[in-house]
C-alpha cells in the first residue's frame, strides 16, 4: 500500500518537474518579441508544419463533410426537415469537428515530425554546437516552430471547414438532390460570425498552442537514444490528442454551456 502511494507520489513529482521544464522552455523560447530576421525561419517552418499537412487535411475534410451531410440529410429527411442539413453541418464543423479533427490530424502529422526533428538535433549535438557558437537554440530552433504552429493550425482549420462544407454540398445538393437555396439560407440563418466561427477559431488557437508546445517539449526533453526518441514521438501524439479532447470539452462548456 505504501509502495503504491509512493509510486503515485513519485509520478506526481515527475509530472510537476516536466511541467516546470516545459514552462521554462516556453518562457525562454518565447520571451521577447520575434525579430524581423526570424521571419524567414518562421516561413520555412510554416512550410514544414502547415503546407505539408495540407493534403491530409483536405482529404479528411472532404470525406468528413460528405459523411456528415449524408447522415444529417437521411435522418432529417424522415421528419421533412432536410433543409436543416446545411445548418447542422455548418454548426458541427465550425464549433467542434473543424478545430478538433484538424488539431488531431495536425498532432499526428506535424507534431510527431517536430518532436522527431528536434530530438534528432539534440541527439546529434546540433543544439549544443549552436549554443557554443553564441546562438540561442531556443530562439533559433524552438521559437520559430512554435510560431509556425500557432499560425498554421487556425489556417488549416479554416481550410478544413471550408472543404468539409463543400464536401457536404456535393453530397446533399449534387447527389441527394437537396434544395440549394434551403441548404444555404438555412445555414446562413443558423450560423453566427462570432458565436460559431469566432469561438471555433479561438478553440483552434488554443489547440495550436497545446499541440506545438507538447511536440517541441517532447523533442527537446527526449533522452538522446533511439528508444527515447521513439517514445517521445508516440508521447507527442498521445498527450496532445488527449489534451485537445479534454480542452475541447472544457471550452465547449465555457463557450456554449448555459449556466
Amino acid at each position: 500500500m505504501s509502495d503504491l502511494l509512493r509510486s503515485i507520489g513519485v509520478r506526481f513529482l515527475d509530472f510537476l518537474s516536466a511541467l516546470g521544464r516545459a514552462s521554462l522552455l516556453w518562457y525562454r523560447a518565447m520571451a521577447g518579441l520575434p525579430r524581423w530576421g526570424d521571419v524567414a525561419l518562421v516561413v520555412k517552418q510554416i512550410y514544414n508544419v502547415g503546407f505539408m499537412s495540407l493534403i491530409i487535411i483536405v482529404l479528411s475534410a472532404f470525406s468528413i463533410g460528405a459523411v456528415l451531410s449524408l447522415q444529417f440529410y437521411t435522418q432529417l429527411a424522415r421528419f421533412g426537415a432536410q433543409d436543416a442539413t446545411g445548418v447542422g453541418l455548418a454548426l458541427v464543423l465550425l464549433r467542434e469537428l473543424g478545430p478538433v479533427v484538424t488539431a488531431l490530424l495536425f498532432a499526428g502529422r506535424a507534431g510527431s515530425a517536430l518532436t522527431a526533428e528536434i530530438g534528432l538535433m539534440k541527439t546529434t549535438e546540433q543544439l549544443s554546437i549552436m549554443e557554443m557558437m553564441g546562438v540561442d537554440p531556443l530562439r533559433r530552433i524552438i521559437a520559430p516552430r512554435i510560431w509556425a504552429g500557432l499560425i498554421s493550425l487556425p489556417l488549416l482549420t479554416a481550410i478544413f471547414s471550408m472543404v468539409a462544407v463543400y464536401g457536404g454540398v456535393v453530397v446533399a445538393v449534387n447527389w441527394l438532390g437537396a434544395d440549394p437555396g434551403g441548404f444555404w439560407s438555412g445555414m446562413q440563418d443558423g450560423v453566427e460570425l462570432w458565436e460559431d466561427l469566432g469561438k471555433g477559431m479561438v478553440k483552434s488557437l488554443v489547440f495550436a498552442l497545446l499541440v506545438t508546445w507538447v511536440a517541441v517539449f517532447q523533442g527537446y526533453d527526449a533522452p538522446p537514444t533511439a528508444e527515447g526518441m521513439s517514445m517521445a514521438t508516440t508521447q507527442t501524439v498521445v498527450i496532445s490528442s488527449v489534451l485537445v479532447l479534454a480542452t475541447d470539452f472544457l471550452l465547449t462548456l465555457v463557450f456554449y454551456g448555459d449556466f
Binding site: Y47, A81, G186, Q188
Partner: protein
C-alpha cells in the same frame, strides 16, 4: 531557388487559409448579405413566440425579406415584442400587413411570415404590425383537441 519555392508554397497556404476564413464568414455565417443594403425596423406583438430565435428569417411569399433583430417580453400585457429588420426603403409594406410565426417542416426552425395587406398607407420605421398570429404550440393544440373531444 529552393527558398523561393518554399516562400511561394507558404504564400499559397496562407492565402488558402484566408480564403477559407472569408468563405466561412460570408457564405456560411451569412455576414454582409444585409449590411450593404438599406433597411429599417418595424415591430410586431405576438401572444407566443416559442422557438423563434434572433436572426431568424422574415419572409413574404417564401422569399426572405428581412431578419428578426430582437425578441423582448412586455410584462404588462404578457406578450412578446419582436423587432424585425426589413430590407429596402420604408414604404414597401402596407399598414395592414399581417405577421405569423411559421415553422420550416415539422421540426424545422421558426420564422416570421408576412402576409401582404391592401391599404394605401404604409409602415414606417418603428411602426407596429397589428395583425399577428403567434406560434402554434403543439402541446396547446393537443390539449384543446382533447377537451373538444370530451364535450
Amino acid at each position: 531557388m529552393r527558398m523561393r519555392t518554399i516562400e511561394i508554397s507558404v504564400g499559397g497556404f496562407v492565402l488558402a487559409g484566408v480564403i477559407g476564413l472569408v468563405f466561412l464568414a460570408v457564405q456560411v455565417s451569412g455576414v454582409g448579405e444585409l449590411g450593404e443594403r438599406t433597411s429599417y425596423t418595424i415591430q410586431a406583438r405576438f401572444d407566443d413566440v416559442a422557438g423563434l430565435r434572433e436572426r431568424a428569417r422574415v419572409s413574404m411569399a417564401g422569399v426572405t425579406v428581412g431578419r428578426v433583430r430582437g425578441i423582448d417580453v412586455d410584462m404588462q400585457w404578457g406578450d412578446a415584442i419582436v423587432t424585425l429588420e426589413i430590407m429596402g426603403e420604408p414604404g414597401n409594406l402596407t399598414i395592414d400587413t399581417g405577421a405569423k410565426i411559421l415553422t420550416d417542416g415539422v421540426v424545422g426552425a421558426r420564422y416570421v411570415g408576412l402576409l401582404p395587406g391592401s391599404d394605401e398607407e404604409t409602415l414606417g420605421p418603428g411602426d407596429e404590425i397589428v395583425e399577428t398570429q403567434g406560434a402554434l404550440v403543439l402541446e396547446n393544440l393537443i390539449g384543446e383537441f382533447l377537451t373538444n373531444i370530451g364535450k
